[in-house]
């Protein structure tokens, strides 16, 4: 009657031993169920692009942006060619589910709807953390509180959403660098456009990329690359936004 526990204990010990062996020898683990990493290494990395300046965009067959540049370097490291497939988030998530693309980029963050949940595609860890600062024109009264205040934005995007969360009123303008309204932008942009940064910082955004579900070896390889190139990502962002 108590025998089951005994056998279980012995099985468990054998099992742990086997695990240790695997872990000791397993540098190429984890592996991909659909072999993405192996295939990309000899061939082409297919990147799905959702337009989102300055992270990724397609213009006349030419891709550019922070994430595009990062992935070009990644492809080079892997000795792979790279091809870009433009589309919308739902289209490209579907493509990722069918494993028709290998990476999906478009300025996604750890809160982007559809991507961040990890239901349709696997999500990398955050490779870059950014936050916007609210700036005002020199001479204009400084801001202590955002609620009810109009803040200029160029697009209704994640930054606008964050502003709304803080009870500010995002106002769409054509060019941030010439507006007289307070703006929310990166610190170096404020400096360049002649705004004075206030003490109001918007919440941090954790930037991520997406890969097809279950391709763990590929996911880990990409995460390893992104971790090693954090400084590079930061520099690219500065370059793209200045």
């Amino acid at each position: 009657m108590h025998g089951y526990a005994f056998t279980g204990w012995r099985d468990l010990r054998l099992f742990l031993l086997a695990l240790l062996t695997i872990m000791a020898t397993g540098c190429e683990f984890p592996q991909d169920p659909r072999g993405t990493l192996e295939r990309v290494q000899d061939g082409t990395m297919r990147v799905g692009i959702v337009d989102n300046d300055p992270w990724a965009q397609m213009e006349k067959e030419r891709a550019s942006g922070v994430e595009v540049e990062l992935l070009k370097d990644f492809a080079e490291d892997l000795g792979a060619k790279i091809s870009f497939i433009p589309g919308t988030t739902p289209e490209l998530l579907e493509a990722a589910r069918q494993a028709e693309i290998d990476v999906l980029i478009g300025g996604f963050t750890s809160t982007s709807p559809g991507v961040s949940e990890g239901k349709e595609a696997g999500v990398t860890g955050s490779y870059l953390t950014t936050h916007s600062v609210v700036g005002v024109r020199p001479g204009a009264p400084t801001l202590n509180d955002l609620s009810g205040r109009e803040i200029a934005v160029e697009r209704i995007d994640a930054t606008a959403a964050l502003l709304k969360q803080e009870d500010a009123v995002p106002v769409l303008v054509h060019d941030l660098s010439t507006t007289d309204l307070p703006v929310a932008a990166y610190e170096w942009q404020l400096k360049e456009w002649g705004f004075e940064p206030t003490s109001i910082e918007l919440p941090e955004e954790q930037h991520v990329m997406a890969v097809p579900l279950g391709e763990n070896g590929w996911l880990v390889e990409l995460e390893r690359f992104l971790r090693a190139n954090r400084a590079e990502a930061k520099a690219l962002l500065r370059e793209e936004t200045s």
Partner: protein, 327 residues
Amino acid sequence: MGRARSPELPPNLKRTLRRARRLEWLTVAYMASAVVLLALVLGSSQAMKTAWIEDLLGLIPPVAFLVAMRFNTRGPTGRFPYGFHRIVSIAHLCSALALFVMGTYLLVESIIKLLSAEYPTINSIELFGQTIWLGWLMLPALAYSALPSVFLGRVKIPLAEELHNKVLYADAKMNKANWLTAGAAMVGVVGIGFGLWWADAAAAAIISLDITKDGVSNLRRALVDLMDQAPTTVDGDDADPLREELATMLQDLDWVDDVDLRLREEGQVYFGEALVVPLDETNITEKIEAALKQARDLDWRIYDLALVPVRELPKEGGQVAEEKQSG
């Protein structure tokens, strides 16, 4: 008519009960810590998530045991003239239900995962400058959640038998379910490491069959006990030989012609009544008292026995014949 009463547990078993209580507190503490640890390293792995939910469900039996053992020896009151012994049977039902829910939950969810071909995705994290796949970190976390269960389950079973406590027995089964699922999750994670997306769900499905089986058998036994089934042993459906022993003892009394004995379980102890047809009615009160003492001495579980002298035994399946009052 007379009744036998004794404190629920003899002194040596009170020590056993104290041990069981300590073990259950230990179980609660360790389960709670496993819940927290798994929540911290929880990936999207199917078996990983179920191992977590199953740890939560695993808290039910020890808590049910501790609550039941706090109330079951309270004396009878006007509203509860039979005392509170049966709370142990109710706790058994709760524990059995937890076990059953866990098994079926695991089974259904892993089958859904298999059918919808969901590819479990597990990230990596950075540790000491190294990129490490979270799957590897899940293994020690799962092992932590499994190993104590192996021991806890093993030491609880003999205690459950000594105390005739089915809650404790169901809890031992829960511990077994616990380390089995954690083991399955480990197999699943390693399988995912090998690129076998289905390993996780398949391992969980196989293990869930065993847990569901334990859940169903405990659930059934808890239900029939509450329906006043004749007492059974803690670990199965076998009739407790004690009933036969007691019937023989009464039958063998020199003043008894015939006996009809009914016993039922009220948690750890037995309640019941014996109708006896006396051969000789002289000094019947003294005889009944002596018989009850003898019954009590037979086993501590014979807790509340009523001995009623009758002229003849009721017909099989019929109403109990009119009681002859005496003594």
